[in-house]
C-alpha cells in the first residue's frame, strides 16, 4: 500500500468520521516495540514469551482468555463445558465446534484437520515441542466432521482446556507444516518465520531478533478489521529505551513489559506522549513461614524436617502477629508502584478463584503486640525483645539478592522490631537460592531459616496444580532429595482431602469455591503464607493508540484486531 492510498484512506475515514464506521486498514501504520526481540514465529519451537506474543498476531487458538481470565471463543463457536454438552460427563473428552467459513490468510479453508494436525505436530516424540505440557494426557484427537473436533484424554480432566486454548497452543496450518513433523521441525525455516494464520495480521518479512513487518490479513473473518493496514514489530534494546520511545519521544505506539522502577516510569509519563498501563496476573511476592525447626544444633537429616516442629512459629498467634505488623501498602509504594498491589492471598486472580481475604491489608501493630502477649511472649528483661521460658523471639529471615527484596527486608525488620521480634537478615544469590541443588544448605526448598520471601505464580488461569503443591507429601525432605514446593512443610489432612475433591470437580463455580477455601486455609486461617504484593505487568501505549486491553492471561496482543488510531 502506498503512502498516497494510506493518506486517502485516512482522509476518507475522517470525512465519514461517525463512530462505528470503519474499514480494514483505514488507520494506516502502527509501531510496536518489544525490548526482547522475537527469534521465531512458531510458539511450539520456543518457550519464550516474546515469540508467543509476536506469533499471536498471526496464529490463533480456538479460544482465548480475556482480561478477566475468562475463556472467550476465537475460532470456536463457543467454549465447550459440561453444561452445553461440549465436555463429556466422564470428563474424558472435549468437543470443539469451529466457526463456519473460516479461511487462512492464503485463502484456503480452515478445517478440523488443521486442529488435529496441530496436536500431532506438538505431540510428535522427536519434535521437542515447547508446549507439550499443554497437551498432557491427550490420548487422541478425532476429526468428527470438517467443523468439529474431539480431544480424548486418557484420564478424566477437570480442566480440559489445555490444548488449543490461549496463546501457547494456537492452530497451525496443516498444509504448510505437513513436512515439518518431528525432527524436521527446525528445518522448515520459511514456515517457522512466516506461518500462515487466521489472525488479524500476516507476516511480510521476518528478521530474527530484529524486526517483523506485518500487514493486515486480507482474509480475516471480520471485514472491518484489523483497522491498521501495516505493522512494524521492532525488537531489541532495553526496557528503558522502549519506554522512552513510547512515552517520551512518541516514535512507537506500544511498548511491552516495562520492568522499570516506579519513579522512572512516572518521569517518562510526565512527558505526556503516552500512558503506562498495568494489569495483574498471579505472581505474588510472599513470606513463607517454616513450620519445622531449622536450628543448626539438630543433626543433618533431621534439621528442618517434620520430626521437629518449629519452637516459635508453630504457634499460629505468632504467625498472625508477624502478618499484622506489616504495612503492605507501603511496600507496594516503595517497591513496585503501578506494577504492584497489596494482597493477602496466595491465589490473587483470576476473579473466579480469588478469595475476598483482605483483613491483613491494614497494619495493626497494637493487635500484633496483643497477640504475642496472649501467646506468652513478653519482654521480661526490658531489652526490647520478647522472650518466653528463657528463649528470645528471634528469627532468621532469608531471601534472594535483589534490590527491592533487600528494601522489603529492612522495612519488615523494622516493623517486627516494633512488636518486639528480633530479625536477622540474610540474602542469597538467586542462582543458588532458586537453584534447587540438594547439596546446598541455601536453597529455598531446604529452608534453613525461620521465614523467607520470594515470588511465584502459576501458568494459565487454573490454580489446581499450584494449590496441590502444598499437600503433606510434597514437603521437601531428605528422602525426596529436598525437592518439592510445600516448603513450609504444611500438613493438614483436611487440605489434602479438599485438593482431591478439586481434582474431581468440573463445575467452574464449584472449583472457584474450593480454590478460595484452599487459599484461605493457607493464608488467613493458618498464616503459613503471608501474601505481600500482587506483582503485575506494566506496558505503555501512546495517546493515539486505542483499543488496548492489557491481558496477563493470554498474550498482550490478544485483541490487536480491535486496536485503532484515536483521531484528535
Amino acid at each position: 500500500m502506498t503512502l498516497k492510498s494510506l493518506l486517502l484512506g485516512a482522509t476518507a475515514t475522517t470525512c465519514l468520521a461517525s463512530a462505528g464506521w470503519a474499514e480494514r486498514g483505514a488507520d494506516g501504520h502502527v509501531n510496536l516495540i518489544y525490548w526482547q526481540a522475537p527469534s521465531i514465529m512458531n510458539p511450539y519451537l520456543t518457550g519464550g514469551t516474546k515469540e508467543r506474543e509476536a506469533a499471536s498476531l498471526v496464529l490463533e487458538p480456538l479460544g482465548r482468555y480475556n482480561v478477566a481470565g475468562e475463556m472467550v471463543p476465537f475460532l470456536a463457536e463457543e467454549i465447550p463445558t459440561v453444561e452445553n454438552g461440549g465436555v463429556s460427563d466422564d470428563l474424558k473428552s472435549i468437543t470443539w465446534k469451529i466457526k463456519p467459513d473460516l479461511t487462512w490468510s492464503d485463502g484456503s479453508p480452515f478445517s478440523a484437520n488443521d486442529v488435529k494436525f496441530t496436536a500431532e505436530y506438538c505431540m510428535h516424540p522427536e519434535g521437542g515441542c515447547a508446549q507439550l505440557a499443554k497437551f498432557e494426557g491427550v490420548e487422541s484427537v478425532e476429526v468428527v466432521d470438517d467443523l468439529t473436533v474431539t480431544v480424548h484424554f486418557a484420564d478424566p480432566q477437570p480442566n480440559p482446556y489445555g490444548p488449543f486454548m490461549g496463546g501457547q497452543a494456537p492452530i497451525i496450518q496443516a498444509a504448510q507444516f505437513a513436512d515439518c513433523l518431528g525432527a524436521k521441525a527446525p528445518e522448515c525455516t520459511d514456515a517457522n518465520f512466516s506461518p500462515i494464520g487466521t489472525g488479524p495480521f500476516k507476516v511480510d518479512e521476518f528478521r530474527p531478533n530484529d524486526v517483523i513487518s506485518l500487514s493486515a490479513n486480507p482474509n480475516y473473518r471480520d471485514p472491518a478489521k484489523p483497522r491498521f493496514a501495516t505493522m512494524t514489530f521492532k525488537g531489541g534494546g532495553d526496557a528503558t529505551a522502549a519506554g522512552r520511545a513510547v512515552l517520551e519521544t512518541g516514535e512507537f505506539d506500544y511498548a511491552w513489559n516495562l520492568q522499570l522502577a516506579p519513579d522512572v516510569i512516572a518521569n517518562m509519563e510526565a512527558a505526556g506522549k503516552g500512558v503506562a498501563l498495568s494489569a495483574f496476573g498471579t505472581l505474588v511476592e510472599r513470606i513463607e513461614i517454616n513450620l519445622t525447626d531449622p536450628s543448626p544444633d539438630l543433626p543433618e537429616g533431621e534439621r528442618a524436617t517434620a520430626k521437629h516442629p518449629h519452637p516459635i512459629l508453630s504457634d499460629m498467634r505468632v504467625r498472625e502477629a508477624l502478618s499484622k505488623a506489616i504495612d503492605r501498602e507501603l511496600l507496594v509504594e516503595i517497591g513496585y508502584g503501578k506494577a504492584g498491589r497489596a494482597t493477602c492471598n496466595l491465589v490473587p486472580a483470576p476473579a473466579a478463584y480469588a478469595s475476598d481475604n483482605t483483613d491483613c491489608l491494614v497494619q495493626d501493630v497494637e493487635g500484633a503486640k496483643a497477640l504475642l502477649e496472649e501467646a506468652g511472649w513478653t519482654d521480661s528483661n526490658g531489652d526490647g525483645i520478647r522472650d518466653k521460658d528463657g528463649k528470645k523471639l528471634s528469627l532468621l529471615f532469608q531471601t534472594s539478592t535483589n534490590a527491592v527484596r533487600q528494601d522489603f527486608q529492612a522495612l519488615i525488620k523494622q516493623w517486627w522490631g516494633e512488636i518486639g521480634v528480633e530479625t536477622e537478615l540474610r540474602n542469597i544469590s538467586a542462582s543458588v537460592f532458586f537453584g534447587g541443588d540438594p547439596g546446598s544448605p541455601d536453597t529455598f526448598q531446604k529452608f534453613y531459616a525461620d521465614v523467607e520471601m520470594y515470588a511465584n505464580n502459576f501458568d494459565g488461569t487454573d490454580p489446581q496444580s499450584y494449590l496441590a503443591s502444598r499437600t503433606c507429601n510434597k514437603a521437601p525432605r531428605p528422602e525426596s532429595q529436598w525437592q518439592g514446593e510445600n516448603i513450609n512443610r504444611y500438613c493438614d489432612p483436611a487440605y489434602d482431602e479438599l485438593i482431591k475433591e478439586l481434582g474431581r470437580t468440573a463445575d467452574l463455580g464449584k472449583r472457584g469455591e474450593i480454590a478460595k477455601k484452599l487459599n484461605d486455609m493457607l493464608t488467613k486461617d493458618s498464616y503459613v503464607i503471608l501474601g505481600l504484593v500482587d506483582r503485575g505487568r506494566v506496558s505503555a501505549r501512546s495517546n493515539t493508540l486505542g483499543g488496548v486491553e492489557l491481558n496477563t492471561w493470554d498474550t498482550e496482543l490478544w485483541n490487536a484486531a480491535d486496536w485503532y488510531r484515536i483521531k484528535e
Binding site: 527469534s39 521465531i40 514469551t49 516424540p125 527446525p186 525455516t189 531478533n209 534494546g237 529505551a241 519521544t249
Partner: protein
C-alpha cells in the same frame, strides 16, 4: 613478497582450525543451558526432549566435526549455489541456530547491511576526523589546538558509549526531537526523502562510535608525526627551501602514515564484530546485537560461527597489515 603472503596464508589454516576447536571447547565447558530461558512452568521432561531435538544428545566430538563439515563444506557449497544457481548443496543440513532454527549464515548476511552502514561508516568518519587532528596537533605541539585535541581524545577514550549514547538520545531525541532514537533496519533508500531519513537515523550511532575511533587514531597519528618532525631529513627539506606545506604533507606525513595504516588495518575486523553496546542503545540490531543475544540465549552454533568468522577476519587483517608494512616501507623486506 608473494611467497611470503602465500606462506602466511597457509600457516593461517592450522591456526584457525585450532582457534575453532578452542572456541568450541570453551563454549562447551562454559556453564549455561539453551533451555535456561524456557519458563519454570515447562516441565523438565519437556525440556529434555527439546534439548534432544537440538542435537545435544550426541557426544561432543561428533558435534564438533559436524559443525566443521557444515561450515567448511556445506556453507561454501550453498554460497556457490547462490552465485551460479547450481545445486551442489542439495538441501544438506547447514549450520542451524538454536534460537531461530534457521541457517546461521542467512541471519549473518541479513545483519551485514546495518553493521556496514553504521559501524563501518563510523570507522571511516572516525579516521577522517582523526588524521587532520593528529597531524595539526603534532605540527603545533602544545598549542591551544593540541591541548583541546588532547582533551577531546581523552574524553573519547574515557567516556563509554553507554553513557555518551544515552546522553545524545536524551538531548537530540527527547529534548529537541530532531533525530529518531530507534534505528529502522527495514528502511530502504530509494529517493532523497528516504536518504535523508537514513542519514538522520545514522548520525547519532555513527558519531558516538566515531568519537572512540577518533580518539585512538588521532593519538597514533600525533605520536607518529612527532617522531618524524624532529628527524634530520625534515631539516634538510626545510633547508632546501621547500614550502612548509610540502615538508609536512609530502615528506613527514608519508613517512608517519606507515605505522598508522597498519593500526587502521588491524582495527578493521572490529567493524564486523559490530559494536555490541552502541547497537543495543540505538537498536541498530547488527552483528554485535546478534552475537550478544546469541550468548544470552546460549545459542552455541551461532556464537561459535560468528566468533569464528571474527577470528578469520582478525588473522586475515593481521596478514594484510604485515604485508602493507612491507609494501609501504622500502626498508622492510620479507624475502
Amino acid at each position: 613478497m608473494l611467497t611470503y603472503t602465500i606462506r602466511r596464508l597457509v600457516l593461517a589454516i592450522p591456526t584457525l582450525l585450532f582457534i575453532s576447536l578452542v572456541i568450541f571447547l570453551l563454549l562447551e565447558l562454559a556453564p549455561g543451558d539453551p533451555m535456561a530461558e524456557v519458563p519454570l512452568t515447562v516441565p523438565p521432561e519437556v525440556k529434555e526432549k527439546m534439548r534432544l531435538a537440538l542435537g545435544l544428545g550426541e557426544p561432543t566430538h561428533i558435534r564438533f566435526f559436524k559443525w566443521m563439515w557444515q561450515f567448511f563444506v556445506i556453507e561454501p557449497m550453498v554460497f556457490i549455489d547462490w552465485l551460479f544457481g547450481s545445486d551442489l548443496a542439495g538441501g544438506q543440513q547447514r549450520v542451524l541456530s538454536w534460537q531461530f532454527r534457521s541457517p546461521v549464515m542467512d541471519v549473518v548476511v541479513q545483519r551485514m547491511p546495518q553493521t556496514l552502514w553504521v559501524v563501518a561508516m563510523s570507522y571511516v568518519v572516525g579516521v577522517l576526523i582523526a588524521l587532520p587532528i593528529g597531524i595539526y596537533s603534532a605540527y603545533r605541539q602544545y598549542s591551544l589546538f593540541d591541548q583541546a585535541g588532547t582533551f577531546i581524545t581523552m574524553v573519547g577514550y574515557s567516556v563509554p558509549p553507554f553513557f555518551s549514547g544515552v546522553l545524545v538520545i536524551v538531548i537530540f531525541s527527547v529534548q529537541l526531537g530532531w533525530l529518531p532514537s530507534i534505528y529502522d533496519t527495514t528502511l530502504v533508500v530509494v529517493d532523497w526523502a528516504t536518504f535523508k531519513q537514513q542519514l538522520m537515523q545514522m548520525v547519532m550511532p555513527v558519531m558516538v562510535l566515531a568519537l572512540q575511533t577518533t580518539a585512538q587514531i588521532s593519538r597514533f597519528m600525533r605520536a607518529s608525526m612527532l617522531d618524524n618532525l624532529n628527524q634530520d631529513y625534515v631539516r634538510t627539506a626545510r633547508a632546501k627551501g621547500l614550502s612548509e606545506m610540502t615538508v609536512v604533507i609530502v615528506h613527514v606525513l608519508r613517512n608517519s602514515m606507515i605505522p598508522v595504516i597498519t593500526v587502521i588495518a588491524l582495527g578493521v575486523p572490529q567493524i564486523f564484530g559490530g559494536a555490541i553496546i552502541t547497537e543495543q542503545i540505538f537498536k541498530v540490531n547488527g552483528l554485535g546485537q546478534l552475537l550478544i543475544t546469541a550468548i544470552q540465549a546460549n545459542d552455541l552454533p551461532m556464537v561459535h560461527t560468528v566468533t569464528f568468522m571474527l577470528a578469520v577476519l582478525i588473522v586475515l587483517f593481521n596478514i594484510v597489515a604485515d604485508v602493507l608494512y612491507g609494501v609501504l616501507d622500502p626498508r622492510i623486506r620479507y624475502d
